[in-house]
Amino acid sequence: MSLTLDEIQKIARLARLRVTPEEATQLQSHFSGLFALVDELQAIDTEGVLPMSHAQDIALRLREDKVTETDRRDALQAVAPQVEKGLYLVPKVIE
């Protein structure tokens, strides 16, 4: 299985990456290599094997419902590019 250049561009767009046509061609061959690995996995007979959602066969640990964090806004915002009135500022997201 291999991907078309249009599909490569769609994946790039979903990941918010700008990909030049040259890069797309390069990625196409990288992806094809990956798909070859997937094909090998697909070929294995998994009849009767339950699907796993995680590589480790143990159960999730849970925590008690307690507030353990304190307000560290000033420290956290010290590394933000732009803040105002306690808000993180980002380029406008609606037109």
Partner: protein, 477 residues
Amino acid sequence: MQWEVVIGLEVHVQLNTKSKIFSGSSTAFGAAPNAQANAFDIALPGVLPVLNREAVEKAIRFGLAIGAKVNRTSIFARKNYFYPDLPKGYQISQFELPIVEGGTLAIQVGDQEKVVELTRAHLEEDAGKSLHEDFHGMSGIDLNRAGTPLLEIVSEPVMRSSAEASAYGKALHSLVTWLDMCDGNMQEGSFRMDANVSVRPKGETKLGTRCEVKNVNSFKFLEKAIDFEVRRQIELIEDGGKVVQETRLYDPDRDETRSMRSKEDAHDYRYFPDPDLLPLQVSEAWIERVQAGLPELPQALKTRFMADYALPLADASQLSGNKAVASFFETAVKTLGGEGKLVANWVLGEVMAQLNREEKSIDASPVTPQQLAGLLKRISDNTISSKIAKDVFAAMWAGEGEADAIIDAKGLKQITDTGAIEAVIEDVLANNAAMVAEYKAGKEKAFNALVGQCMKASKGKANPAQVNALLKQKLDA
């Protein structure tokens, strides 16, 4: 052409835990921006989610309450999309194996009952908030809400009118507050509804193309948004057009839905199991414990109220919509030792009206259920009329004391002595010759006017039934 409306609802219920679903930050509403957004919530590199046990327990409680299947194993998945109020670039949600599957909820539309099937309910994290006011052409991001636990409850597309959709919304709202899993505050966004709406020719079994209507934060707006959307789709199709599957925003100011401009790939979420979270296992013992702790549910209570107190469906259903109201009613009726219908009338009438006027919840009622029972006792033993009882109730509400004390102090005891009532009637007849003449000329209305005069003359204290009978006797003699 006859059209059939098809509606399914997705409701985001904020679970009222103290801390967030995957971090130890507080979930309290109204804190200063980002004061409750810590390293995990703002997605600093290297942070890992740890699931809140209480959020899981509330989801289990909901699943058991609607008779659903609670999955012993469920899986968290990443829902990928980019938006600044979702700092990780994905929302942790459940996709393939949600914690709750199936279940039903009974709703009431008019005097009809209908059972709505549910598809699923899954745990996920809420996003932050974007503020688009002017920050020099930028958006401000507050991540306090990011990570608040949500249970997204999805119904099957089985509702056939906006009234049914809103009845379902109300029943669900009442259930989640009843179960103490959500504070139900719609203004603060604790209970948010999206409606999937489509239409199809009557008799058609295939579903039409649906639109998702977002941003409805009240039951009234839910009905209006659906009504608008249904009209829009029918007109579109009848004019030869086609409904395009899209997300639309409801604008309550203009009472219309508008298309949300979204990119073509917006709905390609590329779900996959979150490698940071192992499968969630729910033990039999845990489920049994939650089951044992379930309160009597609204539906069961409604049925019991109808059976125990001979209430009509409408009253029983209103009283069982809210736990505090139900308990107020039941305490009053038990204190009084019966007369369910009388108590229901007063709780749903005077008590509710006063509470609404003063925007109080029933827990804050200045008249306790025991005091109300004390008042109603005096109606049922004919000490006072219902009309006088309203004045006594107002005095009780104002803190003037118990019903009996007020009745005594104000001399409000009903006059049931036949002689005394006859004296009042004689007086009224003598002073209202014109009305008497009108009545004798065949004007029935004049009779009511005369009753009114008698009640007035007795300052409302004469027993109305006796006034009626005695007056008739005198006039027709």
